[in-house]
Amino acid sequence: MIAFLSDVPGFSGPQTPLEPAGPQALQIEHTLLLIFWITAVVTVIVFAVLTIGVLRRRVGGAGLPPPLPVDPKTERRTTWIVGGAIGVTVVLLFVMMISSFIASHRTAALAASSTMTINVYGHEWWWEIEYPNEAEPYRIVRTANEIHVPAGTVIDIHGTSRDVIHSFWAPNIHGKKDLLPGYWNDLTLEVDKPGTWRGQCAEFCGLQHAHMAFQIVAQSRDDFDKWFSSQLNPAPDPQTPQTIHGREVFLTHPCVMCHTIRGTTASSTVGPDLTHIASRTTIAAGTLVNNTGNLTGWIANAQSIKPGCRMPPNPMPASDLNDLVAYLETLR
């Protein structure tokens, strides 16, 4: 029955609560579908009663019948029926409320067993991701807009905002949680199997709220560990003349005012950490696929893609731009 109720055709994809990829989204979907079926049936019944009532009691013609006298017997019987309808309403509301409480309780219960914390900082209009490590600060991984997690592990997303209110929402995995300046909020996640899901900011945060997406990439434990170790490494030194020149371009242009590439002198934290930019599948907070053409266009004039974002246009000779992009593509 639950499986039948759970399979909702037409609602599949990487950004929907109706294709759950984790236990929380699944639990929520059960409550959602329960409420849907109860309210749909009640709605149809009420519509039917009203329609039949109108059709049966309708008087035709242009006349206005005189006001009807009140018949105590009819009123009494009607009172019982209305009272009964209210009673049924109360019972159904109670059922839906209990289901809601159960779902809340179960999704919250998972929090106690989280074994990994990931810090998320909301920015206008990108997501700063940090894998903290208090004991060994040199094993902190910082990236942007793409969160890798081991499948089957309970994760605590520990989030705040660096500016205005944002909201972290990956519907296939769980409901949303706001990122608020002055507060730390926690959201417990677990993804059942490897795969990629899309999340999007769900609190209006200004000009580019529409282009503030992120990805959750669930991997097997081995793949995750491999990814994590590679993220720990600083940027490799460029080997070819083109990429060496590309790094020069990076270090002598306004890029360094906002971006970090570990292994170089660039260490600003205003914008996303680019140390492993080429390992990410999207850029501009999920707005563009990460390929040569898009990356080139983004660096040249981010304002034409995300007007109002914090990255200025970077006019430069085409050869410099190509070299820069070539360098960045070595940063896996």
Binding site: G10, F11, Q15, T16, P17, L18, I28, T31, I35, T39, T43, V46, L50, G53, V54, R56, R57, R58, V59, L64, P65, P66, P67, L68, V70, T74, T78, I81, V82, I86, L93, M97, S100, F101, A103, S104, D163, V164, I165, S167, W169, P171, H174, G175, K176, K177, D178, L180, P181, G182, Y183, D186, Q200, A202, E203, F204, G206, L207, A210, G308
Partner: protein, 649 residues
């Protein structure tokens, strides 16, 4: 005290002819004419009509803004407008609809026009304050649009959360004019709220005890109480925002002890009751129209009244359901889920009572009743999706998505706009003296109803497919394109439906059939006078014998005599049983409410540029208020001569 009571007498012949009395009353009560006279008007039917027309114009403007939004959203990654303009447009759409249309129409316009007629008195309590509240409202709205037309319209959403709307992230005057719009409209609404409560408490016709008050009046009185208790929340929230932006206060700055959620709590303390302030008048209209077009007293008067009151109370216990995603403690989550579901009980009770009325009456399916049937279908769906969002876990998925956009449009358009069109069709003959065309009415209903569902139903699906709200565009591959395009096409039908309604109004004003006093054979007191009402409302102030005054009147139902008819004297009655209690005199037309509103407007707008404008502007405002209240020698002398003092017990 025994010689200070009203006496029931039998009269054998009338002392004066009705014509002479009517002429004298008209001389006293007719609104001043001419250009300057327009600004001195104080009769509730005049001000009520102004509210209704002005609010409808704002509705049309906000509707056009919605059209622009639908155009931009019809194509993925469209460049019809950029994010800055889109953010202004969706903010203006929401703010204009909520602050300049919904409350001023559903609550202020309808209650100001109808409540004094329905309770059987000659004018609303505090008539000059009523005029002032209208001018303030229209000045606030015009100022908002002036700012919008110079690219300084608010752009932070209709609830303008901090810090996005605060001094750090919202440069310029956009958020300031938003906050002052609140000030204009909230002062206006609060003034009308006090007037409605006092009119309904103290100016009712003798015999209209509490259990004979028309349900429409009950609905507006409960709404007025909600306005009184809820609006202070947004007063404080927006004042704190303005002060943070202009005077360097730190209410919302977490770095020095401020808190961004303080804003949300204060705003939603107001914001949730606000939607019931919009919805309850809708239920008041439905109760009235259902009774008239089912040809019977509405079923379950006591249950309906108690439901109104219960809704009014419970509405104040729901506000945190707008904040479920902010990280509130689980105990709070449970409480606010329970309360949010509980409010479905009084709403359901009302619906069942109305259905019972329909099922035991004789239905006349004229266009007001069609709109009410539309209300049932649309509002009930909206109420059902309300249960989805009342549940915390489900809400955490659908909050801030198009699902919730669908929900609130179903409850607001279903719960307020459908009843409003029904109300306009129902009372148009009374207000204008002409009948609307029934054919055009039916056409505009179906276009609107079908267009509404095509535009808004797919939004439920879009939300469940992951589309967040307040986005100026969306990616092509998301699977959202087709639904958005269907919605944008639906808008065209909505537009046509409203256009037909306007054509109907325009044509009927010119050439509609002349309306009799009571074209629908209804039972309320507003139908006991001419269409449109004479300037003094009733030649003889009525008394009542039942809940539907005209249906329940005795064959020899008494009328009130003994008031001075050469002044604006009215009758006050007791709160509980409407026994006559005293006589009072209403103020004559005056220019001072208009002057005071102009001064207040300059003070409000000036203060967002220079906070000191408040102190400076207080002086001319004080002068205007003194002019308003200062009596004339003639009226003081006349009252001194005629005064009958209450005997102390």
């Amino acid at each position: 005290m025994s010689d200070q009571r009203a006496q029931l007498v039998l009269e054998t012949e009338p002392a004066e002819s009705a014509e002479i009395r009517a002429e004298r009353l008209a001389r006293v009560w007719t609104e001043p004419s001419g250009f300057l006279g327009w600004f001195r008007a104080v009769h509730h039917t005049t001000i009520g009509k102004r509210y209704i027309v002005t609010a409808f114009i704002f509705f049309l403007a906000a509707g056009l803004l919605a059209g622009a939004m639908r155009l931009q959203l019809a194509f993925p990654e469209a460049h019809i407008m950029g994010p800055d303009l889109y953010n202004q447009i969706f903010t203006m759409h929401g703010s204009v609809m909520m602050f300049l249309f919904a409350v001023p129409m559903m609550f202020e316009g309808l209650s100001v026009y109808l409540v004094p007629l329905m309770v059987g008195t000659r004018n609303i309590a505090f008539p000059r304050l009523n005029a002032y509240s209208y001018y303030l409202y229209v000045f606030g709205g015009v100022t908002l649009f002036a700012f919008f037309f110079v690219n300084s319209g608010p752009d932070r959403g209709w609830f303008a959360y901090v810090p996005l709307s605060g001094p750090d992230y919202a440069p310029g005057k956009r958020a300031d004019i938003w906050a002052q719009l609140i000030t204009f409209t909230e002062v206006s609404a609060l003034a009308v709220a006090v007037e409605i409560v006092v009119t309904a408490f103290k100016l009712r016709a003798p015999g209209m005890s509490l259990n004979r008050i028309p349900i429409f009046v009950w609905g507006q009185v409960v709404t007025a109480f909600m306005v009184i208790f809820a609006m202070p929340g947004v007063v404080i929230a927006s004042t704190m925002l303005l002060l943070d932006r202009t005077a360097s206060t730190q209410f919302y700055n977490p770095a020095v002890g401020g808190d961004v959620l303080l804003y949300q709590h204060l705003f939603w303390w107001f914001g949730h009751p606000e939607v019931y302030i919009i919805f309850l008048p809708g239920t008041a209209i439905v109760s009235t129209i259902v009774a008239t077009f089912s040809r019977r007293h509405v079923f379950g008067y006591l249950a309906l009244v108690l439901s109104l009151i219960a809704t009014g109370f419970i509405a104040f216990g729901l506000w945190v359901h707008h904040m479920f995603a902010t990280g509130i403690p689980q105990m709070s989550e449970s409480f606010f889920t329970a309360a949010s579901m509980m409010i479905a009980i009084p709403a359901g009770t009302q619906i069942f009572c109305w259905i019972a009325t329909v099922a035991t009456g004789k239905i006349v399916l004229k266009s007001p009743m069609l709109w009410v049937l539309g209300f049932f279908f649309v509002f009930i769906i909206g109420g059902m999706t309300g249960i989805f969002v009342a549940s915390v876990p489900v809400d955490l998925q659908v909050h801030d998505t198009y699902f919730v956009v669908a929900h609130f449009h179903y409850v607001l358009i279903g719960g307020a706009v459908f009843p409003l069109f029904g109300a306009l069709a129902y009372w148009f003959p009374k207000i204008t003296g002409r009948m609307l065309s029934e054919t055009l009415g039916v056409w505009s209903f179906w276009l609107f109803a079908i267009g509404f569902n095509i535009t808004f139903f797919p939004m439920h699906i879009l939300g469940l497919r992951g589309m967040p709200r307040r986005v100026y565009t969306y990616p092509a591959g998301a699977g959202w394109t087709v639904l958005n395009q269907i919605e944008s096409c639906g808008y065209i039908l909505l537009f046509l439906g409203v256009l037909l309604f306007l054509l109907n109004v325009w044509h009927s004003l010119q050439r509609g059939a002349v309306a009799p006093a009571n074209p629908w054979g209804a039972g309320g007191l507003e139908w006991a006078t001419s269409s449109p009402p004479v300037p003094y409302n009733f030649l003889d102030l009525p008394t009542v014998n039942g809940r539907e005054a005209l249906w329940d009147a005795a064959p020899d139902q008494p009328v009130v005599v003994g008031l001075h008819e050469d002044t604006r004297e009215i009758l006050t009655t007791r709160l509980l049983d409407a026994e006559p209690e005293g006589r009072d005199e209403f103020p004559a037309p005056s220019i001072w409410p208009f002057v005071a509103a102009v001064v207040t407007t300059i003070l409000f707008i000036g203060s967002i540029f220079r906070p000191v404008a408040v102190s400076i502007g207080a002086i001319p405002l004080a002068i205007a208020l003194i002019g308003w209240f200062w009596p004339t020698r003639r009226e003081s002398a006349r009252r001194r001569e005629r005064d009958v003092w209450q005997k102390e017990t």
